[in-house]
């Protein structure tokens, strides 16, 4: 009996700890998303059947080598097509790490980057000229 009581006490403690931790996690997550400026584009989920609706291509505006409004976060599921446009007033080159995709942007012009999201993980996209990160790709399985 006594042993059972102690077991129960340990269980309550452990569950309490786990609960506190996950509650903490929600907090942190919300502060993290407000701390960084994030434009998430919603990707159509469960769209592997038939032709998916073409989502509007997100555009990142770069002025003086810096992304206007901060780093854009783009979410994809593995197998989808990554597609976004970068418009810049100065000439630069966009580079996506991990995928090793690069594209030149002429001064005052724009470039559309498009490739299949076939590596899972989180990847930075940056401007080679200014060294600024402009986009974060998250490819979920």
């Amino acid at each position: 009996m006594r042993l059972m009581r102690t077991y129960a006490a340990v269980a309550v403690f452990a569950l309490g700890a786990a609960g506190a931790l996950s509650a903490c996690g929600d907090d942190e997550e919300s502060t993290a998303t407000t701390a960084r400026t994030t434009d998430s584009t919603n990707t159509p989920s469960g769209a592997q059947s038939t032709t998916p609706e073409e989502p509007a291509t997100p555009t990142i505006v770069v002025r003086g080598g810096k992304p206007v409004g901060g780093v854009t976060e783009l979410d994809y599921e593995a197998g989808e097509q990554v597609r976004f446009t970068v418009r810049s007033n100065t000439a630069d080159e966009v580079h996506i790490h991990g995928y090793d995709v690069s594209k030149e942007i002429p001064a005052g012009g724009s470039a559309t980057i498009s490739f299949p999201a076939d590596i899972e993980g989180i990847f930075e996209g940056e401007l080679h000229g200014s060294g600024e990160q402009i986009v974060e790709l998250r490819v979920e399985p």
């Binding site: 700890a17 786990a18 996950s22 996690g25 701390a35 790490h97 899972e120 490819v139």
Partner: protein, 464 residues
């Protein structure tokens, strides 16, 4: 926070946080396993004796004989030289320079796992030990007597190694120009730090003797040696042998400062895992506070990161000491001091699990670079192609996100089970009375559950 161009150093890819369902499953399995462990508790200690038995004499001679020692030592010194040379003369791009990947990934993350599997393999390759022995041996031959050393202050124990470990990780994850990345350091700084550490280590070896300093103060020997205690292979009096796995660990922590070494390991991995996830918001607000009081951007980030790293050390220490204090309250308990050193080894599996959980994918990806372009073109200047692999690269497709998640959660659960096992075994040895021993272990169980769930939590909010 990007302060310098190309500041993201080694990693072109970061892990996705583990999904909520896996976090829930992982935590549930940990709890169920823990209660199961309580119900199957055994009454006689099983790991207090090593039951060491020698392997074949020929094998021992081949692997531990003088020719092998000289060869391994020379390889160690050569590789240290390559790393320093590449750091000083090679490219500034961290991911193209041999120095960073070799020191912080291949050696620092490779040897803990290698040591568990094969025994203390760093010892023969330790470049400073090799130099110390060569110089000591030459001196002995010329002077006709062994070099005289100061007596090592035994009260210091492994504290120099614990502090050195924190300093190494601080250099790796805090000092670099961009905090918040796996390695934010420049190759040049790495080389200078390696030279400075070599000078310090050789001076200490001259003062206290090669073997003494390697057992107590030399960071890499102590750190990798700690993980070697978990494994089945161990040498005794120049003979290679097999022992009961985990048994050698039960005597490891009797030296003062050992608890600090394992706690420093858990704390520094926690900090590195949390700075881009769990602690990100908090660290950023502390940075802002330091910016407000007039610190420069780099200084503010470093000071804030340093504070959080020390906070991690204090937090892990506190949780462990709560467990120790709790155990001390159970009837028939030994002194707090004896409990503190007597249970420190039970945290080694947790430290290893944290390492695997946080660095597994980095290691697998970065070793592809190590054995392709970094090996053939160590300077990263495209001037050499030593092994014809200079055009190789990292294939990020070899690990799916799911594979990484299962390894991460699996490592934490397995580390948890081994830690519980070692703690229960030690309790049975300390408390003659089996019921009291079991009662003392509710405390350690709570400690282990806290560490493992914290580890899972860090993974679930990683790179938020």
């Amino acid at each position: 926070m990007t302060l310098l161009p190309y500041a993201h150093a080694l990693l072109a890819r970061q892990d996705l946080p583990i999904p909520e369902w896996l976090f829930a499953w992982g935590a549930s399995i940990v709890l169920i396993v823990s209660f199961f462990a309580l119900s199957v508790a055994w009454r006689e200690p099983r790991f207090e004796e090593e039951r060491w038995r020698p392997l074949g004499a020929g094998l021992s001679r081949a692997l531990l004989g003088l020719p092998a020692q000289i060869l391994c030592g020379a390889i160690g010194v050569f590789l240290l030289g390559v790393a320093v040379y590449a750091g000083l003369r090679g490219t500034e791009a961290p991911d193209r320079n041999f120095a960073l990947t070799f020191v912080f990934v291949t050696v620092w993350l490779g040897f803990p796992v290698l040591s568990v599997l094969l025994g203390d393999v760093f010892r023969p390759f330790n470049p400073w030990r090799a130099i110390g022995r060569a110089v000591g041996g030459t001196f002995g031959a010329l002077a006709g007597q062994r070099p005289a050393h100061l007596a090592y202050p035994e009260a210091l124990g492994r504290w120099p190694a614990a502090i050195g470990l924190l300093a190494f990780v601080w250099l790796e994850v805090v000092y670099g120009p961009s905090g918040g990345v796996a390695v934010g350091l420049s190759p040049q700084t790495t080389a200078v730090a390696a030279l400075a550490y070599s000078g310090y280590t050789l001076a200490m070896i001259a003062l206290f003797g090669t073997e003494k300093w390697c057992e107590r103060g030399e960071v890499f020997s102590v750190y990798f040696g700690m993980f070697a205690q978990l494994g089945a292979f161990g040498a005794r009096d120049g003979r290679l042998g097999l022992r009961r796995p985990f048994s050698a660990a039960t005597r490891w922590a009797t030296v003062p400062g050992s608890a600090a070494v394992v706690i420093a390991s858990i704390a520094s991995t926690s900090f590195d895992g949390a700075q881009e996830g769990a602690f990100q918001g908090a660290i950023e607000s502390v940075i802002d506070w330091f910016l407000d009081i007039g610190l420069g951007a780099v200084a503010a980030e470093r000071v804030a990161d340093t504070l959080f790293m020390l906070l991690c050390f204090g937090g892990v220490w506190l949780i462990y000491m709560l467990g120790v204090r709790g155990m001390a309250s159970v009837g028939g308990a030994p002194s707090v001091q004896r409990l503190r050193s007597g249970f420190a080894h039970t945290l080694i599996p947790i430290a290893l699990a944290y390492l695997v959980a946080h660095y597994f994918s980095l290691f697998v990806f970065q070793e592809q670079a190590q054995f392709t372009y970094l090996l053939s073109d160590p300077l990263g200047t495209a001037s050499t192609d030593l092994f014809g692999t200079a055009s190789g690269g990292i294939d990020f497709r070899i690990l799916s996100a799911n594979a990484i998640w299962y390894v991460q959660v699996g490592a934490l659960v397995i580390g948890h089970v081994i830690a519980l096992t070692l703690a229960h075994d030690r309790a049975v040895a300390y408390w003659g009375d089996y019921r009291q021993a079991a009662r003392s272990q509710y405390w350690m169980l709570a400690v282990m559950v806290a560490f493992t769930c914290f580890g899972l939590y860090l993974l679930s909010v990683a790179n938020g």
